[in-house]
């Protein structure tokens, strides 16, 4: 469909429509909801990483004046069926057990009971009066221990692959991909490089904690207000956990203060609905930052081993990857996409990939920007960097010699259509930041990134007001500027100015079904629905114009936002604008609206190339990033400032994970740094300006060539940081984070050796 061309609206940079509300505090986020007679819910969380719950006695809490209800796992239906979509999804049954523990607490912070009380303070006080009798069990806290023979079992019923046979295991699933003959490939290689790499547990770090408010009407129908990446999925997951029909639940999304994948799942909503059901009052629940860290999904820590063999000219002859990811307390680590990503930037004839989904006593992993890819590509791109050093090749030239291109049989199966990795590498090679030699005492690192991007289901309605202004109604929560992108695509399609189009995100009863805002799908898939809904409007407008002019609709063209007779149609009429047609709609058949619902297919993969220069203070181990350049294929950048913002935000998140972010646990599985003081995300003063260069290789499956752009940016920075720090030090540090204590220990160890 798409080919590069000039647009009127697309590619411009209008001011974001939600910006003023957000900077003035007028925007309503998850915790801003207030209802008459509203009470407050709080959650009692396990102080143990692994413990059998022998009994829960809430009688003392319930005697406290102002306490209305206490719930625990026994208050929820057992045997919930169904599956949660997505690579980290798992089953509804596991989701229910994650939201409220049943017979065992599986991580420090696992919910074991919840209270509803008149005030949040009273609810907190009541938690201390709930008596829980635990039998403390030994925790298992990393993949190596969890995979070893005789390891404590997180779930005594878990079999590898979910079957009934064999012995119980912490290995929930094994994924394999293989092509060609890797052993023969290594035998044919002149140089073989291998390494083992560890990436720590990290949190998405969204600024807004999880929050929701729920109320039930007299007929038992629930309304839930919450901050989420997908309110239709909140509806189905909440219904699944509570044993209700989706028709009994309405979900209203608020503005969202970041999600990055972590708000594609639920934690509070079924608790709030259940407490509201028991008390007959609206119940509001807001997590603290500590709860967000202890009890919501981080991304997986990983242990990856990668081996690559190559000829002297740089041609890769074979590669293998062994990837073990922490799932947390329930199956569902993003190791599948990790396996599918690890060699995606390359055209390989011989490879083997093995992935392990491993249970540990930590919170269940949730999606985080390009789930699974940063970990595996950190390992691959670090190994490629080592290979370039051994071969004495420029790391971009080595990648160019082996990169995937249109027609490459991707390691995960399909054949790539037009993709942008080669153009990104070529752009990097001539970029001024790369052609400028690095300064003395600094290190330079480069790495490639990849994400699949997805389509899935979306709906949109476009409504024409009587003065010709346009309202877009859609169901994809706006986490990255999608309302502006929807307006730009609507304006482009209709041929009208951007400033007469407004986009709104409707609740589950106000607009058609949309899957979550995730997988970099919204601008592609919901955008496609908006374009089709606008085409619906145009068809109707042509019909109305034809009716006005007493000609057939196929004698009418739509040009620059106006209906005009087709060339050769012999009538003398003035063009009819959108406003003209809208103003006359009552006389020509009634209000005009367009709509589309679809399951979008053909989301185009997005590749990136990033590079940076760093210095390392050998006395303190502190790494300073001097400059960072992000180059990425966006297909077509609908709103380039937002695309650049995604690239910059992803780079900063990736660098934060690489340089400082990690969950620090004691031997009992207690997270010791559950706050932003000790879990250190980058702040503005830590970062240089992130330079961006958008490459546009239009996606042939979208009318404007859109690819997703939101996830790829976080993938490459991990290896960029590793490669740059290793270059600066003259030896490799394989494990992340490259925090001052870790780097200093590595320097000391290297100096002693």
């Amino acid at each position: 469909m798409a080919e590069a061309r000039d647009y009127r609206a697309i590619g411009t940079r209008p001011v974001r429509p939600d910006g003023v509300d957000k900077v003035t505090g007028r925007a309503n986020f998850g915790a801003d909801m207030t209802l008459p007679n509203m009470i407050h819910g709080k959650v009692l969380r396990s102080p143990h990483a692994h413990a059998r719950i022998k009994s829960i006695d809430a009688s003392r809490a319930l005697r406290l004046p102002g306490v209305y209800a206490v719930i625990s796992g026994a208050d929820f239906p057992s045997g919930a069926e169904g599956e949660i979509s997505g690579e980290g999804g798992g089953t509804v049954s596991d989701l229910a057990k994650n939201i409220m523990a049943r017979d065992k607490a599986l991580y420090h912070g696992h919910a074991v009971a919840a209270v509803a009380a008149k005030t949040a303070f009273l609810a907190e006080s009541a938690l201390e009066l709930i008596d829980v009798d635990y039998e403390v069990l030994p925790p298992v806290l990393d993949v190596d221990t969890a995979m070893a023979d005789g390891a404590p079992l997180v779930d005594e019923h878990q079999r590898t692959g979910g079957g009934q046979g064999d012995a119980p295991s912490n290995i929930a699933a094994i994924t394999k991909f293989e092509r060609g003959d890797p052993e023969a490939g290594f035998a044919a290689a002149d140089v073989v490089v291998e390494g083992a790499y560890r990436v720590p547990t990290a949190h998405q770090g969204y600024i807004e904690p999880h929050a929701c408010t729920a109320t039930l009407d007299e007929e038992g129908r629930a309304t839930v207000w919450c901050c989420t990446q997908g309110h239709f999925d909140v509806r189905s997951m909440t219904a699944g956990v509570l044993g209700k029909s989706v028709g009994e639940i309405k979900v209203v999304p608020s503005e969202i203060g970041g999600g990055f994948g972590g708000k594609t799942v639920i934690y509070l909503e079924p608790l709030a609905v259940k407490l509201s059901e028991l008390t007959g009052r609206p119940v509001k629940m807001v997590m603290s930052r500590e709860e967000v860290f202890r009890a919501t999904g981080p991304t997986s820590a990983s242990h990856c081993r990668v081996k690559v063999g190559a000829k002297r000219d740089g041609t890769i002859t074979a590669a293998t990857a062994w990837l073990a990811y922490e799932a947390g307390a329930f199956p569902g680590a993003p190791v599948g996409p990790g396996c599918m990503s690890v060699f995606a930037p390359y055209d390989l004839d011989n490879f083997r990939i093995e992935g392990f989904d491993v249970l540990v006593n930590k919170p269940k992993a949730a999606a985080y920007r390009a789930p699974g890819a940063p970990q595996s590509l950190h390992a691959m791109e670090s190994t490629i960097d080592e290979l370039a050093r051994k071969l004495g090749m420029d790391p971009i030239d080595l990648r160019l010699a082996n990169c995937a291109d249109e027609g490459t049989h991707a390691p995960y199966g399909p054949t790539f259509p037009a993709i942008g990795i080669k153009k990104c590498l070529e752009a990097a090679k001539v970029h001024p930041n790369y052609t400028t030699p690095k300064a003395d005492g600094t290190g330079r690192g480069i790495a490639a990134g990849f994400w699949f991007n997805i389509g899935m289901q979306s709906s949109a309605e476009v409504r024409l007001s009587e003065d010709g202004t346009v309202t877009v109604m859609e169901g994809s929560p706006d986490i990255g500027g999608s309302r502006a992108s929807m307006c730009l695509m609507a304006a482009e399609t209709l041929g009208v100015p951007y400033n007469i189009v407004r986009a709104h995100v409707g609740d589950t009863e106000s607009t058609g079904f949309c899957n979550v805002t995730g997988g970099s799908r919204t601008t592609f898939a919901t955008g496609l629905a908006v374009v089709q809904a606008c085409e619906d409007i145009i068809a109707e407008c042509k019909q109305r114009a034809a009716m006005t002019w007493d000609i057939d609709a196929d004698q009418v063209d739509w040009t620059d936002g106006e209906a005009v007779p087709k060339p050769g149609v012999n009538i003398d009429v003035a063009p009819l604008s959108l406003a003209d047609i809208a103003g006359n709609a009552g006389r020509t058949g009634g209000p005009i609206l367009g709509r589309a619902s679809l399951n979008a297919q053909g989301a185009g993969a997005s590749f990136s190339v990033n590079f940076a220069d760093v210095t390392v203070d050998r006395e303190t181990g502190k790494v300073d990033v001097l400059n960072f350049t992000a180059i990425q294929d966006a297909g077509t950048a609908i709103h380039p400032a937002y695309v650049e913002g995604q690239m910059q935000g992803g780079a900063v998140q990736g660098l934060g994970w690489a340089l400082n972010e990690e969950y620090i646990y004691d031997d009992n599985g207690v997270m010791e740094n559950a706050g932003f003081l000790d879990y250190r995300v980058p702040v503005a003063s830590d970062m240089p300006m992130i330079d961006t260069q958008i490459i546009e290789v239009p996606n042939p499956s979208h009318p404007y060539g859109v690819r997703g752009v939101g996830e790829t940016p976080i993938v490459a920075p991990l290896a960029v940081a590793s490669n740059a720090v290793s270059d600066a030090l003259g030896f490799r540090i394989s494990d992340l984070p490259l925090s001052p204590p870790s780097v200093l220990a590595a320097i000391d160890g290297h100096d002693e050796a």
């Binding site: 692959g161 394999k176 390009a370 199966g413 259509p417 699949f452 053909g602 996830e711």
Partner: protein
């Protein structure tokens, strides 16, 4: 005949067979043909994504299949 390729995680359902050829006019027909050969596999396939001639699809029952199409079943991807 369209060429259907099974990834490693589906081999337990195909008795180790990696590749077959089927006659089908659309994707749903492919799934039915595969299920005819290995009864019950449909329940696994409908949870998979599929790449048809290089393009990735999810829940694409009506997607047309050519005589020379290549069909790769693969794990679903969603993302964050």
């Amino acid at each position: 005949m369209a060429r259907v390729v099974f990834p490693e995680h589906l081999l337990q359902h195909t008795g180790g067979t990696r590749e077959i050829e089927v006659h089908a006019s659309n994707y749903r027909g492919v799934v039915r043909a595969v299920d005819k050969q290995w009864p019950g596999i449909e329940q696994v396939l409908i949870k998979s994504a599929v790449a048809i001639d290089g393009q990735i699809y999810q829940d694409a029952w009506l997607e047309p299949i050519r005589e020379d199409s290549e069909i790769f079943f693969m794990q679903r991807i969603e993302g964050g």
